[in-house]
Amino acid sequence: MKRNWPIFFIFSVFIAGGDWSAHSDVRPTYYFYNTETNINNFASLKMGFDIYLVNHGGYFLQPFDLRENFEAVIHEKKGDIYLLSSWHLKELQRKKVPLEIALVGTSKGNTTQRKVLSAKKDIVNFAMLKNTVVAAAGSDEYVHSVLKQILGKEQEALLKDIKILIVPKDIDAVMAVGFGMATAAISAESGLDKLAMMNPNQFKELHSLGFSEKDYLLIAATLKKPDQQETQLLEVLRKMSEEEAGEANLKMLGIDGWRAVQ
């Protein structure tokens, strides 16, 4: 019977709501948009979170696949949690959007990561990437920005002669190099670790051409100092890794836990 209540709750929202989306904005919500991944299975992400959250305060997750839509929500509405990349947060802060970091995602104990530009060993310098394809997961802008950072000022001019191929995830990017769909890949270092396990031969063929600066993993941010409701939302988020279902959800976001930032 314990499980019946939340099910009834969601069901009634649907029945009563008719147009659920019109009413949902009054409920506390986690809004999600990540420039660093190219998730294409929002339905399972949303489903996983919503089922978990029904038992943990009745909140919702709303993922976005368009940056503009996500940013519009930030501008229009206060009082929720925003899950976004560190790069995106900095971009928004530059535009004077008053977002503040509340939690930082962790992966195997780390809160930061750096991106690697890797290529086959016959590509020995950046110049050789001219007129080639570089595969990466993430939004177009983000990937450009990371690549620009890795290339550095001296090689920045190369950017216009490099074609970016956006793939769903890091492992696709590094494998694209191995299978000849791209000349180089941008991935998190963990992406290369995965390749080493999955396809050691391909991994051996790759080497790193350059690295980005270290940056936080996924960030949970609020528009102001968290109020009581937001603190509750953050607490639910922080404790997600303590339950199996919650951890599985976090994995879909590419992290395995949260850590508060002082």
Partner: protein, 311 residues
């Protein structure tokens, strides 16, 4: 006419050809086999997004809008003089190959592209993931699987299956393949095949996957004999497949656009056909537990989506 005069004519012709200097537009013609088919349409949408970002113009031609597609396409090619024709699906490719044999063609979403009549000016993104990639992933996820069985039709998948067999050997996996001519043969052939294998692989063969009934038969037979099913698309997870590694459709569209632009700029070797670069890995934990199948726990974080029994 003396032979020497004939050579003069040749020289004249050659000069004429060299002098004309055909101006090439960077317009791309998109030919879609059937716009109501989700895969085709999704690929077209992503393709256009990338073209737009790169200031390329395009014209679209949907086969299902034209009763006389052959003549209409010919007319359009003549009118638009596209730098490249992007053909989504085999029907689109076949038609374009006939109508505009001298144009650069780029195909995608064509099942087993190796069966196509591919010319010098043909480029493509395969519909299937590189079987070497699939094999290395499968081997990583299920280290104990040694023998995999699959059904296919000779008409549509012969060349693809030959490639699979070669790649499987490199990963230490043995493939047992059985061909059928009609979906009605599925049950009988499966009864013979399933006892010999550790896992059954559903490949994108249009004869094997003729209708829902053939899909049902495959899963029913596999379940009866307690054999896990691995599939090329996550639509089969719901039917009971334990693992699916699908080529990401949107990536195929983007990848095609990238290749199209590179081809237009003459930066790709003739005849390049790439495997899809994006993949989605879906694991059916429910089926995995039911089959008591050994799964490499280290590989869990490479799975995009884990489906449990409650779902």
């Amino acid at each position: 006419m003396k032979p020497i005069n004939f050579y003069n004519v040749f020289i004249l012709l050659a000069v004429f050809f060299a002098g004309t200097g055909f101006a090439q537009s960077n317009k791309i013609l998109i030919v879609n086999s059937e716009k109501t088919v989700f895969r085709y349409e999704k690929i077209a949408t992503e393709f256009k997004k990338v073209l737009q970002q790169n200031a390329y113009s395009w014209t679209e031609f949907n086969l299902d809008d034209h009763a006389n597609a052959d003549a209409d396409l010919k007319q359009l090619v003549q009118q638009e003089n596209p730098a490249l024709i992007y053909c989504i699906g085999t029907q689109a490719y076949s038609l374009a190959r006939n109508v505009a044999p001298n144009k650069k063609l780029l195909f995608s979403a064509a099942i087993n592209w190796r069966r196509l009549d591919v010319g010098v000016g043909t480029y493509g993104i395969a519909n299937e993931l590189s079987s070497a990639q699939e094999m290395s992933l499968l081997h990583y996820f299920f280290p104990t699987i040694k023998t995999i069985g699959l059904l296919y039709s000779d008409k549509f998948s012969r060349e693809y299956v030959e490639t699979i067999k070669k790649d499987a050997l490199n990963s230490g996996i043995n493939i047992i393949n059985k061909s059928i001519n009609d979906a009605q043969e599925i049950s009988e052939v499966l009864n013979d095949l399933l006892p010999q294998i550790d896992m059954f692989w559903i490949i994108s063969d249009p004869v094997v996957l003729s209708n829902k009934e053939s899909v049902r038969q495959i899963f029913q037979a596999a379940q009866q004999q307690n054999k896990p099913v691995y599939a090329y698309s996550d639509v089969y997870i719901e039917q009971g497949a334990v693992l699916a590694i699908s080529a990401d459709i949107a990536t195929i569209g983007r990848q095609s656009a990238g290749l199209a632009m590179m081809v237009d700029q003459g930066k790709v070797p003739a005849g390049t056909v790439q495997s899809p670069a994006g993949s989605t890995v879906t694991l059916n934990k429910c089926a995995l537990d039911a089959l008591k199948l050994q799964f490499n726990q280290d590989a869990l974080d490479s799975v995009n989506k884990i489906v449990g029994c409650e779902q």
